[in-house]
């Protein structure tokens, strides 16, 4: 469909993922996945728990290999994109290293890129200011609350200023206020830097507020059932959350999700 635009950020074609193939615990996690993310686009992935959102993200990140199909990231095979460190990733679990201070956790991707120390320190300070944790630079992760740890993980994902961000429920452990602040900050960073984002979430309003496009998935086997164009423009503010168009899109996504479960309650999707 939109493959006509040159060199999209992510192209997923004909992807299928089967775990433990042939074994009794075989899981058909994903089937017939085709979608494209344009450069600078913000795409939210939403769907009930276990529908394969994290799996899809890990496929794009080349952390696991597809059973069938191809993934092209930044115009090259996903594998090459990973080797080139073309993306930053924040996973569902913060995964901070206990033995490193907060700032040194944020500097980890930069160390692997071979940046020198002063440059790393400058960038981590900038990132800490962004997530409002400057006073905690030299704390150890285990001295922070769960939400603060998650903000450090987000700062780490953003640190290298990658063109593509892959985020798996990064704001899950945050309170409503911090969550809205981080959402606004993420949108600001993305529009300033033209970053492309693939964002997994459980929350319909979050998916709609952040994204240009919401990809709706259904479980077992996981497939894409709808794409909702949000069309709220790029300038979003607190007012956006109260606009009628916003509620219309939220309803649209909710109905798309319902369509996948006639009559059933939607397990694991947040209406808030």
């Amino acid at each position: 469909m939109d493959t006509a635009v040159p060199n999209p950020a992510v192209v997923v074609s004909g992807v299928r993922k089967v775990f433990n193939r042939g074994a009794t615990n075989q899981v058909d996690a994903l089937i017939d996945i085709d979608f494209t993310v344009q450069r600078g686009e913000f795409v939210s992935l939403i769907g009930p728990s276990g529908c394969g959102k994290s799996t899809l993200l890990r496929l794009i990140a080349d952390l696991i290999e597809p059973t069938d199909g191809t993934l092209v990231v930044n115009g090259k095979p996903a594998h090459q994109a990973r080797l080139d460190q073309d993306y930053g990733i924040a996973s569902q679990h913060s995964g901070l290293f206990d033995w490193r201070t907060v700032e040194r956790n944020i500097e980890l991707p930069l160390e692997l890129k071979g940046w020198d120390k002063s440059r790393r320190r400058a960038r981590s300070a900038e990132m800490l200011a962004l997530v409002k944790l400057s006073e905690f630079a030299t704390h150890m992760p285990w001295q922070l609350s769960g939400g603060m740890q998650q903000r450090v993980a987000i700062a780490r994902a953003l640190a290298a200023h990658a063109e593509l961000l892959l985020m798996d429920e990064p704001f899950g452990a945050l309170d409503e206020m911090t969550r809205e602040h981080m959402q606004a900050e993420l949108l600001r960073i993305c529009s300033e830097t033209g970053t492309t984002v693939v964002f997994v979430t459980h929350s319909i309003p979050e998916a709609v507020y952040l994204a240009d496009r919401v990809v709706v998935m259904s479980p077992r086997p996981g497939r894409i059932t709808a794409m909702v164009d949000v069309g709220l423009g790029r300038d979003r503010s607190e007012l956006t959350r109260e606009a009628t168009e916003f509620f219309d899109r939220v309803t649209e996504v909710r109905e798309a999700l319902r369509g996948t479960h006639v009559g059933d309650p939607i397990m694991g999707v947040d209406d808030r």
Partner: protein
């Protein structure tokens, strides 16, 4: 800080308790031993078997042999210091070797599969036979036995210290959280950088306690080697030879026992310091 002071005060307090128990039993126990549940279990309390604590302590200040110049304190101290050096060398070599082998096993499945059975089997060999075996293997027919037995004692200490470290390190390297491994993969980190930045530091909470075991094992290995090989200089040999004088000079044996106890204690302290340094950046227990 006060916790550390309290820990240091613990040592003399513990010593005082043991001394008090010793003297207490000596005061009330049967002089010629006694029966308990029909067996001769209760030790004799006469001064040949159980000299007073102050006799042992004062024995330290007198010469080792009648008319000799060296006090027994300096002889025991020198022997203990000698054994400590051997045991500490064995501990360091054993620990380094243990970590190195574990890294190899973590890197190559084949090495793990091939080596693990031998490792486990090696620990079933009674250590007492190993000393003479090592000597026999490396110094058969040689006259230069002193230096060779020194090496043999070290080897035995290494042999005992190596195993707990290797096993704990391997377990530590294999229990890296998968989410952290994925993060390093997403950063295209090569194997050895993942090892140095993630897997090894994540294994430290496994390795540090194994060092305590390794330290104690190195001491056991070295003392056993000294006793079974008859190394002149070590504290193990002193226990053996002073034990032979137990009838004529009962407190003498206990001065060597003090030396052996001090050896274990100093090793434990040194290893505790290493342990603390290694765990400095890790969350304290219960976090």
């Amino acid at each position: 800080m006060s916790a550390r002071v309290r820990k240091l005060v613990m040592f003399p307090v513990a010593f005082a308790f043991v001394a008090a128990a010793w003297e207490g039993y000596k005061a009330i126990g049967p002089a010629n031993g006694g029966r308990l549940l029909g067996m001769r279990l209760l030790p004799r309390t006469n001064s040949r078997t159980m000299p007073h604590v102050w006799e042992m302590v004062s024995r330290l200040g007198r010469p080792e042999v009648r008319g000799g110049k060296q006090t027994i304190l300096s002889v025991v101290t020198a022997a203990t210091w000698y054994s400590f050096r051997v045991a500490f060398t064995a501990f360091v070599i054993g620990a380094v070797l243990g970590v190195a082998v574990a890294v190899l096993m973590a890197r190559f499945r084949l090495v793990e599969r091939g080596l693990m059975p031998y490792l486990i089997m090696s620990q079933t060999v009674p250590i007492i036979v190993l000393g003479p075996l090592i000597i026999g293997l490396m110094a058969y027919g040689s006259r230069d036995l002193v230096s060779k037995t020194w090496i043999a004692a070290t080897l035995l200490g290494v042999f005992l210290a190596f195993f707990p470290v290797a096993v704990a390190t391997l377990r530590g390297l294999q229990s890296t959280p998968p989410a952290s491994m994925e993060l390093m993969d997403s950063l295209a980190s090569p194997w050895w950088r993942t090892l140095s930045k993630l897997r090894f530091p994540a294994a430290v909470p496994f390795i540090a306690p194994s060092l305590r075991i390794a330290g104690a094992s190195a001491v056991v290995g070295v003392v056993v080697a000294e006793i079974s090989l008859g190394i002149r200089a070590g504290v193990g040999r002193l226990i053996l030879s002073y034990g032979q004088e137990a009838t004529s000079d009962p407190p003498k044996l206990y001065t060597a026992v003090f030396g052996a106890a001090a050896l274990g204690l100093v090793m434990a302290l040194v290893v505790a310091v290493i342990d603390r340094q290694m765990m400095r950046r890790h969350p304290p227990e219960g976090v």
